[in-house]
């Protein structure tokens, strides 16, 4: 089955079986392994990507449901492969990254949050993260990173 969509700004048209997930498409077909598989049940959020700017769990999302849409992954959230957003820089600088396996999902969820609400309160940040599990940091330094990134953008 042909799948046609935009991934990280580039148009992609390729054969991909129906019934498989967007996560499988990104990791296996596109070799975009920055998006992680943690649980395959939409609990951990490590697989979060943006579809037309909105965060979704790609492990539960059918690849073909993304047809005609624009998918953004952690590799290119900075606009270009390898370019970091202020949020990504702040995550590194504030200690918001430890093992890093959950980090891509946090980057995507928080990117969407800041797009929608550029000056979120601490409670809003914590609520937005309800679908992302981090086992290392205890979340504080991730929340601090958001606050630093907001400050840097002012």
């Amino acid at each position: 089955m042909i799948l046609s969509l935009v991934v990280n700004g580039r148009h992609v048209e390729t054969e991909f079986p129906a019934g498989r997930t967007l996560l499988e498409f990104l990791r296996e077909q596109m070799s975009l392994t920055g998006t992680k598989e943690g649980c395959v049940e939409g609990e951990c959020g490590a697989c979060t990507v943006l579809i037309d700017g909105r965060p979704i769990d790609s492990c539960l999302y059918a690849a073909h449901a993304a047809a005609g849409r624009e998918v953004t992954t952690v590799e290119a959230v900075g606009g270009m492969y390898g370019l970091m957003t202020p949020l990504q820089k702040a995550l590194v600088e504030a200690g918001g990254v430890q093992c890093g396996f959950c980090t891509p999902g946090f980057v995507m969820t928080l990117t969407a949050l800041l797009d929608e609400s550029p000056q979120p309160t601490r409670t809003e940040v914590q609520r937005a993260l309800a679908g992302n599990i981090c086992r290392c940091t205890g979340y504080s330094q991730i929340v601090q990173a958001v606050e630093e990134a907001i400050g840097a953008g002012e």
Partner: protein, 766 residues
């Protein structure tokens, strides 16, 4: 400026935040096959039929291996009680029975389904108290023939290992006591829940295996797998990649041999990754425990003597249990003066998934039990709970129950003072449905060996080759990196640390017991001292001056002491050395010397001392919703002794992360076992982990008492923050509701039950 003590960015941060960091689950080799493991669906039974014929005939299946195709001898970390594949009997749910290697995961799963497996189920041994009874069915009927991996220890029937200490004076003290307080405390299992499931990619070539892992202890994979396969350790090369969390679960051998055997059988690289449910089953989660304590106390609240009985649920394999049962003896007399203390600790076989290491091994439930018990003593005496603790604190030079001296035990009093300063006890936890709890712990820094090769590259950067692993804590990406930078006067960005490779890296005992920054950092300072001499020798030749007159100057230079204008760069020195056929490299290694202790104090004491001790106090304030039973942590204060802060962000990350895991252990993370011996929670949906909105802002005071043996004084940091959390939280809940709770996790229904029972007792009294 020296890199030590700064907020240097972690060296792997950019790779992780842009998604370019490659973990084992991301790693792939050309032509690799995918493997899946058939695991026992039941906890105990006899295999009456196992037929893989149909599975082998499926197109795209390259190999189906069972016990017939693998070594049958036993292996194990402390006691050799495990086999690679079950063949006759199954002993726990999740025990491997077969491995399939196929073109892709769909075919592998089809092949697993096509294996014909019939098991005659038997009643599993699940309950710990039942397991230790004389007439309990044996989990391992052949236990007597098991060989210890190193030295043997007391063991019998379902008791995998027993440690006992029975000093004089215990019974006399109980006779003379004003009161005797008794308590029984229980803790459930806890899943490490690292986000990257266990995975491995294995290759086989010319008689050697190469195994790619995200593992905390690559040299242990090599040695344990060699033992399991019956081959030389040097026939295995273990290559480490980024690690998506471990917390102790990635220390022992796991699924590596199954991928390796499949790679050998197929001649192709083989990848094997756990799905989340099987990962929960076979990760070796933290053991469940029952701790029974009796304490003799006088009228003033002095602890006179103690009697403690500890049962740990080892599951169907010993793993690290025979070591862990030494910890009750050490912790029973750590921090507080307790008088003569009798301790019996047993780690017990059951027909459940084997348990193993998790951050703060055994400390979490032991400290929960002992600190809950202290609150009960205070309540029975009508004494302030904090005052009882201060009254019994150890002083410098006091001995642990193993005879080990604590030269700096008074740091614990300082930690109590530090907490008091920011959150005064008398004002804490006030208000309806609110409470405060306090708890302390003494913890160790794991002493095992670490080593590095350190070199100066021709561009003036510093290379470190080591088997040490960066499990996410920052111990390598910050701690060791910054120490190396400071030693040679370069920036942290100019230090490049290798990934572990057991073929080329010098030995390291893995990221366990908070050891990496302390041990590997010290190995770096040893290597750097030798390396500086070599640098000065070459630079002295270049500058026509005596090496003794040279020094490292911040910014990557070597200069003449007292003569600021006269300097050359490290790059120039390294380039000259290379041109002259010299090598600017040096090795360094370190292991903490064992503190003196009394070997006659106990039997079965395999883990006898607590080297490089650190001291910690936690205070929690909670609010309980009397309608729903929900507990909210309002305030959390930590005083932690760290020796020396190498990177403040790194240390705070460990404190906050450890507290979060402790809050999960206390309040949310419920891994219960049914009568059938199977886990009831099987997904991350059912196993509730702490989320951002559950976490208070942890207020932490870091106390620095530099260790003369540690690099820049650093001691272990990462484990202690989880150890006293459940104790502090549950003590606060009990304070809030006025009813005892002695079992964790404390779920909302447990809070409501406790409140209900307390009100019934009040009615009976009135």
């Amino acid at each position: 400026m020296s890199a030590v003590g700064t907020r240097a960015k972690r060296s792997d941060g950019e790779a992780k935040v842009t998604g370019s960091a490659v973990y084992t689950v991301d790693f792939a080799l050309p032509g690799e096959l995918t493997a899946r493991v058939l695991r026992s669906p039941v906890a105990r039974g006899r295999i009456v039929k196992l037929d893989v014929t149909a599975a082998r005939e499926i197109e795209g299946v390259w190999a189906v291996l069972t016990a017939e195709d693998a070594p049958r001898h036993r292996n194990g970390l402390a006691i050799k009680d495990q086999v690679l594949f079950a063949s006759d009997r199954v002993l726990y749910e999740g025990e491997p029975i077969a491995v399939v290697a196929a073109d892709n995961i769909e075919i592998a799963d089809r092949a697993i389904d096509a294996i014909v497996l019939e098991i005659e189920e038997e009643e599993p041994v699940v309950d710990l108290d039942r397991a230790v009874e004389d007439d309990a069915p044996l989990v391992h009927p052949g236990w007597e023939a098991f060989e210890p991996a190193h030295t043997d220890f007391p063991r019998y029937r379902n008791v995998c290992a027993e440690m006992t200490s029975d000093p004089e004076g215990v019974d006399d003290a109980f006779e003379a006591a004003h009161i005797v307080v008794e308590g029984e405390y229980r803790a459930g299992r806890q899943y490490q829940a690292y986000l990257e499931p266990r995975g491995v990619v294995a290759e086989y070539e010319s008689g050697r295996y190469t195994v790619h892992v995200s593992h905390q202890f690559p040299f242990n994979v090599r040695d344990r797998m060699a033992s399991a396969l019956g081959i030389k350790p040097s026939s295995i090369r273990v290559v480490g990649h980024h690690i998506g969390g471990g917390f102790g679960a990635k220390l022992d051998l796991g699924i590596e041999p199954y991928a390796a055997l499949a790679a050998r059988a197929t001649g192709r690289p083989v990848k094997l990754v756990n799905d989340r449910t099987e990962d929960m089953l076979i990760c070796q989660c933290r053991e469940g425990a029952i701790v029974r304590i009796r304490t003799a106390v006088d009228e003033e609240g002095n602890l006179l003597a103690r009697d403690m009985d500890v049962l740990l649920d080892s599951g169907a394999a010993g793993t690290d249990g025979p070591y862990l049962i030494s910890i009750p003896l050490i912790l029973a007399g750590a921090g507080y003066r307790v008088g003569p203390t009798r301790v019996r600790a047993r780690t017990v076989y059951t027909n459940t998934a084997p348990t193993g290491a998790f951050r703060g091994v055994s400390g979490t439930h032991l400290v929960f039990a002992m600190e809950r018990h202290l609150d009960e003593i205070a309540n029975q005496l009508g004494m302030d709970r904090r005052e009882l603790r201060l009254r019994n604190l150890q002083e410098d030079g006091d001995l642990l129950l193993n005879g080990q001296e604590l030269p700096d035990a008074s740091i614990l009093r300082e930690a109590f003072d530090a907490v008091e300063e920011i959150a005064p006890w008398s004002q804490a936890g006030k208000g309806e449905n609110r409470g405060v709890g306090i708890a302390s712990c003494v913890w160790l820094t794991n002493p095992l060996s670490g080593s590095v090769v350190m070199k100066v590259n021709e561009d003036g950067t510093v290379g470190l080759v080591t088997g040490a692993t960066e499990n996410g804590s920052g111990a390598v990406a910050m701690g060791v990196t910054q120490i190396a930078a400071a030693e040679l006067g370069v920036t942290a960005e100019d230090v490049i640390v290798s990934f572990p490779d057991t073929d080329s890296s010098p030995y390291d005992a893995g990221s366990q017991g908070s050891r990496t920054t302390h041990i590997v950092g010290r190995a770096v300072t040893e290597a750097a001292a030798e390396l500086r001499e070599k640098i000065y020798e070459v630079a002295g030749r270049m500058m026509e001056t005596s090496p003794a007159d040279l020094e490292i100057i911040e910014g990557g230079h070597v200069g003449v002491k007292g003569s600021p204008g006269s300097q050359i760069t490290l790059a120039e020195v390294a380039t000259e050395a290379t041109a002259a056929g010299q090598v600017l490299s040096a090795t360094g290694s370190y292991r903490t010397a064992s503190p003196k202790f009394d070997p006659t104090c106990a039997t079965g004491l395999l883990f006898p001392v607590f080297p490089t001790p650190t001291y910690h106090v936690h205070q929690a304030e909670v609010e309980v919703d009397p309608v729903t039973g929900k507990v909210t942590v309002l305030r959390y204060v930590v005083a932690q002794e760290v020796g020396k802060v190498i990177n403040p962000d790194g240390v705070m990350g460990q404190v906050q992360g450890g507290v979060a895991q402790g809050i999960g252990y206390a309040l949310y993370e419920n891994l219960s076992i049914g009568k059938d011996g199977r886990y009831r929670q099987r997904t991350l949906e059912a196993y509730r982990l702490p989320l951002a909105q559950d976490m208070p802002d942890v207020e932490a005071v870091l106390l620095e008492h530099p260790d003369p043996a540690g690099p820049y004084g650093a001691k272990g940091v990462a484990e202690p923050p989880i150890v006293p959390v459940a104790a502090a939280i549950v003590n606060a809940i009990v304070d809030a509701i006025g009813a005892p709770i002695d079992s964790i996790p404390v779920l909302p229904e447990h809070v409501l039950d406790a409140m209900d029972q307390a009100s019934k007792r009040a009615e009976v009294r009135s």
